[in-house]
């Protein structure tokens, strides 16, 4: 008698393509995935609980540790939420610099994504190319705030420091370099037969289903839903910027790839507009010396490179720390779609799909 039962295998927690520490239990029928169970929490540090016991300014530092490849966007999201609670006006210059930083961060995060995603699938070269350009962005960040990974680059009400002299010119120079590089990545991948074979028709999900599953960011836009927090609920200086929201049609891995590649170009477009139109003026608003928002609660979302990054913060109006601090992590919500996406595909496609939803375990587990 042959044993025809299904085979259960563990992928991870220590697997190079799981982008951190993520464990996926796969139920296989031959080489086809019947079902998948995602097990996480290996990187859980209790950032929400910790934040409820730190004062409002100390939390900025903790937000760095969630999505550590896009720390600046987490900082901006948190600061804007607290500003909303404090009903604080942020100077225009600070909003512009925030926009520049967020978009630089988006490019850096997408560079890391395209590199690792391509490497997971077997295209080694792109990884080296993308990290070369990411390095340029990290240099810009280092000049701005002194750090290269966890920036702590925001303050409630504005910026910690004005941009260094000549920094804006360097940003524009970087844009010029990056323009050609995006085409370079595309030459390597977009029409590559192996790439097409590995990504087209893999993990197809319709727009309605993706919306119901709470997918967000480029992963949702790949399914043809034009949902972008930057356009729908503008924050920072996005209401003054002109940019397009690229959307896919098929909702497969290839379309999600194309959406992100186009986002590179749109981000560069935003950075150019923001840097060239950077207004003069103060960089910090009228922040009270002791930050203690009135009792109340609010939810504020921004578009991080991974998707909708939301903060739900409750202040009790008495203490100097938030009563409740909740992060809506985009990686977590996108990862929820993984079991649905991998069903019926081959084991090798699981790697491609984890790459295509672009997760960071630090943010999934918090």
């Amino acid at each position: 008698m042959f044993d025809t039962s299904e085979l259960v295998i563990n992928m991870g927690p220590q697997h190079p393509s799981t982008h951190g520490v993520l464990r996926v239990v796969l139920r296989l029928d031959g080489e086809k995935v019947v079902d998948a169970d995602v097990i996480m929490g290996y990187l859980h540090r209790g950032i929400e609980k910790l934040s409820e016991n730190r004062n409002w300014t100390q939390i900025i530092l903790l937000t760095d540790r969630m999505d550590y490849v896009a720390a600046a966007t987490s900082n901006v999201g948190y600061c804007e939420t607290v500003e909303k609670l404090l009903q604080l006006e942020v100077p225009r210059r600070a909003r512009y610099v925030r926009t520049i930083l967020c978009e630089l961060q988006r490019i850096a995060s997408h560079c890391l994504w395209v590199g690792t995603h391509a490497m997971d699938i077997g295209a080694m070269t792109v990884f080296l190319y993308a990290f070369r350009e990411r390095e340029l962005i990290l240099d810009l960040f280092e000049e701005f705030c002194g750090a290269r990974l966890t920036y702590n680059s925001m303050r409630i009400g504005g910026l910690p420091l004005d941009i260094p002299p000549g920094w804006d010119k360097k940003v524009l120079e970087f844009c010029k370099i990056m323009d050609g590089k995006v085409d370079e990545y595309e030459t390597l991948l977009t029409h590559n037969r192996i790439w097409l074979e590995r990504t087209k028709g893999i993990g197809v999900i319709s727009g309605a289903e993706a919306t119901a599953l709470g997918m967000c960011g480029p992963t949702l836009r790949g399914s043809g839903v034009a949902r972008d927090v930057r356009k729908d609920e503008p924050y920072a200086a996005y209401d003054e910027m002109e940019f397009d929201v690229p959307i896919g049609t098929a909702g497969d891995t290839y379309d999600r790839y194309l959406v992100r590649m186009e986002e590179f170009r749109q981000s560069l477009r935003i950075i150019r507009q923001a840097t060239e139109g950077l207004p003069e003026g103060p960089i910090v608003g009228k922040v009270p010396r002791l930050i203690k928002p009135a009792a109340g609660e609010t939810y504020h979302a921004i578009e991080s490179p991974k998707g909708e990054l939301g903060y739900f913060i409750v202040s009790d109006g008495k203490s100097t720390n938030p009563y409740r601090f909740r992060v809506r992590p985009p990686s977590f919500c996108n990862l929820q779609a993984l079991p649905r996406l991998v069903r019926g595909h081959l084991v090798a496609d699981v790697v491609a799909l984890i790459g295509s939803i672009d997760i960071v375990s630090g943010e999934v587990d918090r």
């Binding site: 929490g41 609670l85 309605a208 119901a212 599953l213 709470g214 009792a295 409740r324 919500c333």
Partner: protein
């Protein structure tokens, strides 16, 4: 002789609570939790009893989906703070309210962007479960809020928004809110055999130790015994 007479008393001290811990564990999720939550928690005098939930000013224009919700679900309360609408619905009508908000054409909240909870221990209905909803068609938001007591069953909204699956698992994991009709109610971030619910306000920041959640006094004794053993 002196060594021998000293040694026997020391092992029982740390060992005595240890058998008690595994014995208490199987029964803990069902039986020990309410007792621990009800008795052990002594809130500070100034502990807040709930969010202010300010009602909307008289001249506020109430969106159409809220007025229709008030007809469908009696007892709905409204709140407007910093431009965000919140509807507070009774826990028994949560699925009805969710379905209404999703399906009513002027609402069309097809996207459950966040589902979380807040713990207000002094209040009898200590948890606020908060649903942050968004409509991809009208591009507007609303928050739906439900107040539940500890161990009070709350119907799951996974049938309304698939996204609620993991989010409810997280709320269960972190607060112990009892979701009924959930397809896969397991812990999600904490290990499966974890005791206690870390995001509750009476859960210590430093973590549970081994016994802390079940018997804080034994836990303190154990820690002292360990410290002494370290010194020796």
């Amino acid at each position: 002789m002196a060594d021998e007479s000293e040694k026997p008393p020391t092992p029982p001290a740390p060992a005595a609570p240890k058998p008690a811990a595994p014995a208490a564990r199987p029964a803990a999720p069902a039986a020990a939790k309410p007792a621990a939550g009800g008795e052990a928690h002594v809130p500070k005098a100034a502990a807040p009893t709930g969010p202010p939930d300010p009602p909307p000013p008289a001249d506020a224009v109430i969106p159409a989906f809220i007025t229709s919700l008030q007809k469908v679900v009696p007892g709905t309360m409204l709140s407007l703070y910093l431009g965000d609408w919140t509807v507070i619905v009774p826990a028994s009508h949560v699925v009805e309210a969710a379905l209404h908000l999703r399906d009513v054409p002027e609402g069309a909240f097809d996207y459950c962007s966040d589902l979380t909870a807040t713990d207000w221990p002094p209040r009898p209905e200590r948890f606020d479960v908060i649903y942050c909803l968004y409509s991809t068609r009208h591009r507007h938001r609303v928050r739906m809020k439900v107040r539940v007591a500890e161990n009070q069953p709350l119907a799951s909204v996974t049938g309304v928004w698939t996204a609620a699956n993991w989010l409810e698992r997280e709320v269960y994991d972190m607060f112990g809110v009892n979701f009924t009709g959930h397809p896969d109610r397991r812990r999600i971030l904490m290990p499966d055999d974890w005791q206690g619910y870390p995001q509750r306000k009476d859960y210590p920041l430093e973590g549970p130790g081994e016994l802390l959640m079940e018997n804080p006094i034994d836990w303190l004794k154990l820690r002292q015994a360990r410290d002494e053993a370290d010194i020796e």
